[in-house]
Each structure stands twice: as C-alpha cells, then as structure tokens.
C-alpha cells in the first residue's frame, strides 16, 4: 500500500516554515503499514497542483494533501481539486453551522469569504475539522483515495489521528501491525548492530528491526505484520525481550516515549522529585522536562548557573573548587549536583558543566568536554563526555547524556 503527501503553499518554498507535517504524517502512515513513496511541496498554482496530483495518482493508492484551504484568494486547493475531478460545488450546511459557531464564539463579524469555507466539491465526503474553519475533504475516485486537509499542524494531526488513519485502515483492510520500541543510549549504531546481528538474522520475514538514531540515542523498532493480532503481539514481544536481554545495559526504556518522559513516569510512580543545575546546557534540560504536561509533580525546578558567581551563591559550589579545578571539572559538577539536591530539596539532582563552544576550549578541555553529575540521597556520581565542536549538538547531546544518567540511577534505586 503506497501513499504520497503533497503540501500546497508558498511558505515552504520560500523557506518561511519547515515542513514538520510530512515527517509526522509519514511516521503515522508507516506505523499502520502504509509506505510513503514521495513527498512533494508545490506552490499555490493550479496547473502545478494538477500536475502533482496526476503524478501522485500514478504512483500511489492514497494521496494526502495539506494546505491551501484558507479563506484568501491565494488558497486554491479546493477549486483545484474540483477541477481535477471535474466536480461542481455545494455549500455544506454542517460546515456552515460550524464556521458560524466559531465566529459567534469569538464575537467576530463573518464575511462572505468565511461563508465560502463551507463550499466543497460536490463529489467529496466532508470530514468535520473541530479545530478550525477549513473542512477536511475525502475523495474516492478511480479506485484511489485523496484527502485534502488544512496545513495547520494541530488541525492536521487531530484529523489524521481521529479520522483519516482509522478510515484508511478500514478502507484497505490493512493487516494487523504491531510495533515495539526500545530506546537505547550510550552505544553507537554499528556496535549495536554487531550485538544484535544474531537476533536480527533469526527474525521471520514478517518481523523487521529498524535502527532509528538521533544524537546519542537509538530507538530500536520491531515491526510485525500479520493476520492474528494477538499471536503477532506475543511474537514481537518475545523478540523484544531477546533484544532487551542482549543489550540490557544500553536500554533506557522499552516504550516509544522521550527519555525525559520516561524519567517523569518512573519518578511520579515512586513519588520522587528532581531538580537541575545547568551550566553549558543553559536551561535546555529544564525545558525538555517542562514541555511535558504534569511535569510539576516531579520537577521542582533548577538553576541555570552560567556564571561562576551563581554556581557559588545558588548552588553552594566552593570558590576554591572553582579556582583549583575550574568550572568544567568533576569536582565542580559534583558540588553543583549536591548543592541543587540540598538547596532545592529534591530526591535527585542532575548537573551539567561543559564547554559548548565554539569558543572557550583549551588544550586540556577542548570544546565538547562535558561533565555530568547525578546526586541522590546516598552518593554523587559524575562522568565525563567528549562531544563535537558544534554548540547546538553539544547542548543536545549533553542533555541526553545527563538524562540517561538520571534514569540509570533511578532504575538502580527503585529496582
């Protein structure tokens, strides 16, 4: 089963926005067993859109289209879809009611261009867009499915999750697909591949193992497809267990969630609290944690101690330690973690100090040198890392390394 994604609108083509929709849609489609053949971003130009539709229709069974559904003249997706399928227009009363409700709720005057949002090609099925005024349109023509969705990410995502993906599963009687994700850290892809070679070779044809690397972390994803969902689930689970046993010490968690979310879940279950003391990561770890709803149940807060003065006044790092060993040292980072845990009154604290770059490196401590420490009630451990010479990467990799160390400590403590 093949799909294509077409994004319509000039924003991507002038570089104003990064197309995050397509990657998300592609991942969701792959998860239910639909492969994406091509992603095309085209301009708000009818002939160009028609050409893209024709080519996609030749190659794929499902064509998902985002964007170009606003009320302004630039937005021509709807009229172009009608032209492509040689359809007329009808005003969809349910959509009109929904759009009217939204304008009434926000107490805004409604003009004809807003009403026109309810006009749709007369051969399509309208799918209600709860989060916006542009309706989603589903076309079944010549044995293929075309879906036109708004390009606003949260509108598109809601529609995909609640409407499009379930309908596609039904329309194509897709086989059961079972995924199991294992998050690993602190091991490179090629080394992991060597460790897992035997297990990988023993996998039956209907179960595949994918390596999904991202800055110091690798997600291992087992994907099985078959007719009997329960049988498949047990089978995938058994292979997952083999993998976990084989590379146990690199396994962060056997779920498809972010590292910091895994920490929050475990800590919340055990009523544990966490604080942070960041130098080179500059608040990035705190940001990763606090982007998750409900993080306040675990995370008390932390300090971004960019200056040495703050390391001393806020975290209690001794001036002599900084003087003797420097800010980027085992001694300093341990005092940072210890101080955060005591001053912020939490069960655990994590501290990071390093040279993010591009400047500030020395022969002893080149750019990319990063110390991480984790403090709990019985000890403070520290580890040194050597990352790259690129600032953004160093910040991200330091955060991942720090969170991995936190998780390891907690898992040891809670068993």
């Amino acid at each position: 089963m093949l799909a294509e994604i077409i994004t319509i609108g000039d924003e991507i083509l002038i570089g104003q926005i990064v197309d995050t929709n397509s990657a998300w849609m592609a991942e969701q489609l792959n998860l239910i067993g639909i492969k994406v053949k091509q992603v095309s971003s085209v301009s708000d130009d009818a002939d160009h859109i028609i050409e893209a539709l024709q080519l996609a229709e030749k190659r794929a069974d499902i064509i998902l289209i985002t964007g170009g559904l606003g009320p302004t003249k630039d937005d021509i997706t709807k009229i172009t879809m009608a032209r492509y399928f040689n359809m007329g227009f009808r005003r969809d009363q349910e959509t009109l009611g929904h759009v009217t409700d939204i304008f009434v709720r926000y107490n805004k005057p409604m003009i004809e261009s807003n009403r026109k949002q309810a006009d749709v090609p007369d051969g399509c099925t309208v799918i209600k867009n709860k989060n916006g005024t542009a309706p989603c349109m589903w076309f079944e023509e010549r044995g293929k499915i075309f879906v036109s969705m708004p390009g606003v990410p949260f509108e598109m995502k809601y529609l995909m999750e609640e409407e499009i993906l379930p309908r596609l599963k039904k329309a194509f009687k897709l086989p059961a697909i079972i995924h199991k994700t294992i998050l690993t850290a602190n091991i490179g892809e090629s080394f992991l591949a060597v460790e897992l070679e035997e297990i990988e070779d023993s996998l039956p044809a209907h179960i595949k193992l994918a390596y999904l690397p991202k800055l110091g972390q690798i997600r291992l994803r087992l994907s099985g497809s078959g007719d009997d969902e329960n049988l498949l689930k047990a089978e995938v689970e058994a292979y997952a267990q083999q993998i976990i046993n084989k590379v146990k010490k690199y396994v962060v968690i056997d779920q498809d969630i972010a590292l910091e979310k895994a920490i929050l879940n475990i800590m919340q279950a055990h009523k544990l609290t966490l604080s942070t003391a960041e130098s080179c990561t500059g608040g990035y770890i705190a940001h990763l944690i606090t982007q998750h709803p409900g993080s306040s149940a675990v995370y008390a807060g932390g300090a971004v101690t960019y200056s040495n003065a703050l390391k001393t006044s806020v975290l209690g790092v001794h001036a002599e330690t900084l003087g003797t060993y420097g800010a980027v040292s085992e001694e300093t980072v341990k005092e940072m973690a210890y101080g955060a845990r005591i001053n912020f009154k939490t069960d655990y604290a994590v501290a990071v100090s390093g040279v993010a770059g591009p400047d500030g490196g020395t022969e002893d401590k080149p750019v990319g040198t990063v110390w991480v420490a984790v403090a709990n009630s019985h000890h403070v451990i520290a580890r040194k890392f050597n990352f790259s010479n690129r600032r953004a990467q160093n910040i991200e990799r330091s955060a991942i390394a720090a969170l991995s160390m936190v998780l390891n400590e907690i898992k040891q403590d809670v068993g």
Copy 2:
C-alpha cells in the same frame, strides 16, 4: 530563475527525520533572487530518482539534490546521476587524498567502500566537502545546473554558503538583490498590514514587502532587485525607514536576527547583564539565550522555579504573596523579577509565571494566562497576556513576549 530541490533517502519518507534542509536552502535561494518551484523527497530507488530529475529538469533551471551519498549500498545518488547523464566514472585523486586524510586523522582503517567515495561521474566538477567524505558534484548539462550535495545539514550548509550560492550568482548573472528585515512584535499581521497599506502601495515594482509571521512576531522583509547595488541599497533603506517610523512602537530591531540575539548585542555593547526567573516557560528563555555563542558575556544565569517553595527560597518571593495572590499573579511575578535581579546580581531580570496547560486552569486564570515582569535598577514592570490552550505554543509565546518586554525596557534605558 527557477530552482527545484530533490532530497533522496528513506529517512524523510519513514518520518525518521524532519527535512529542515529544504527550508533553509529555499530561503537562501530566495535571498539571491532564485525562486523554488518544487521540493520533492524521493526514496533510494534509481527509477524514482530518474523520474524526479526528468520532471525537475523540465520545470527549473537549477536542480539541487541532497542525500544518498554515503558509502553504503543504499546510497545510489552518484550511480544514478551517472546513469541520468550517461557518464562513466573516474576516481578523483584530490577527493581520495581528502578522504584518506580524514581516516588517518581519526586513526580508522580505510576499506574499499571508503575509497569509492572518491569515484565521481566523469562529466562533473568536484567541489571539495571540507566537513565530510562525500564530495559535492556540479553538473552543467543541456543548459541547466545540477548539484548533488550530502544531506548532513552542516556539510550541506557550508557547501551552499561557500561554494554553491556564489557559483550560482556567477553562472546566472543574477541582478543585485537587497534585503532589509524589520522584526516586529505585539501586533497582528492584519493590523500591521492596515498600518502599512499606504507605504506598501507606494513601493515601486522592483521592491516588495513580505510579512513573515511566527508566533507573536512578524518579520517585515523588504526585497529590492536592480542593477545598481548602491542605489538600490539607499532606496530600500529609505522605505525601511518609512516603515520603522510608521510602526515604531512595534519594531523590535531592524536586523534579521533573533529577538534574544538582539538583546544580547545591545546589552553587551552597553556592558549590561541579565538573569531569568522562569515558571511556566520552564527554562525555555534561558535556552533561547544560551544557544547563542558568547551569551555568557551578558547572561549570568537564572532559576527555573516550578514549585512555589523554590520561588520563595531561590527568588525570595514572600509566602504571603503566593498565598494571597497565587503563583500566576502580578504580585508574584514582580517579586520573582525583583528577587532574581537582586539575588543573581544583574542589571536586568525577567520573570514569567503562567498557566501553560493543558491542566491547571481556573475560571479566573484559564490556561494561557501568563504574567511577565521585567526588573531594572529603578522599577519593576509587569504585564498580563492571554495566549492559547496549547502548552507548547504558550511556552513559546510567553518567551517571545518576555524577551520583547526586556528589549523595550533596555531600549528605553539606553536611549
């Protein structure tokens, strides 16, 4: 002058990575007067790549290709380009030397697949890739230019900036293009458009004004094209001045830099220091600031006071204030800013406290209610914002609002 971008590789099509390259490339091309007609992401499949090349060649003058240049079997861009142009292969000695140097430097054994990275289609010009082993290849065929680059972002960006963009400018004798960007905040696009209608109508045909909105900020970009660069520069600058005078109170800075970078520049020039006290933004403001190299000259650090206990112990917010007015209040946020400025010994401090959501809202203080305060040596000001019901957006918009307030205060103080 039209260009197309083709990205090759399965990573984008399975949703493993978001294609940030294309937006960046499109922006750079637009800045030198080259429009992007289409962006296509295709799989590692020779026939599919050939089809994409044929279609792009029909529509555009310049075809930029990224990805598929690694040493493994999956990477077939090079062999497919040779097939497309009916070329043989030659081993490029300079590339071989460069690849060998890299392996020697990292003390790694070199195998035949690594040596093959130096094999290139015999009709292309090789452009050295300083940051990696895959060479960049430049083809001029049938009056069009094709460039194949690695997909690794920092390798691609370096090649584009140092090699490809200058060569394209030369190859096509592009007109002089002058851009002037004005960053605005705290005003919506439609209101800004009304304010600037008269100026926009008076622009000559060779100067265009673009509105580039992003979460509470709008970049206004004047782009002029012409033959006489100096004349054009003066002309664009004069219109920019008109715009700045007209919407002065919304103008953040008249440069194309991030808001926090503008703050860092001004503060560094005036030897001023800054600290942060974040609740609902959870370290995101600190992260925005510290992603910039050299931020330590201005930024001392800050606190992420997620819990009320830390608001009191680290920032000195009175327990009675929290008890009487709550954490999300004018009184609390002012004490947070004041406390940060005093405790962290900086010239300015900014504090944020709000309900990021999705939970925690009340009738009085629904999700999206955010208070921001800025403290300097003579006063503490505060302002309330009402954002959306989406957590990630609330965090981002709060950060932008807070940084805008900081910049306004500083500009008032330094004149």
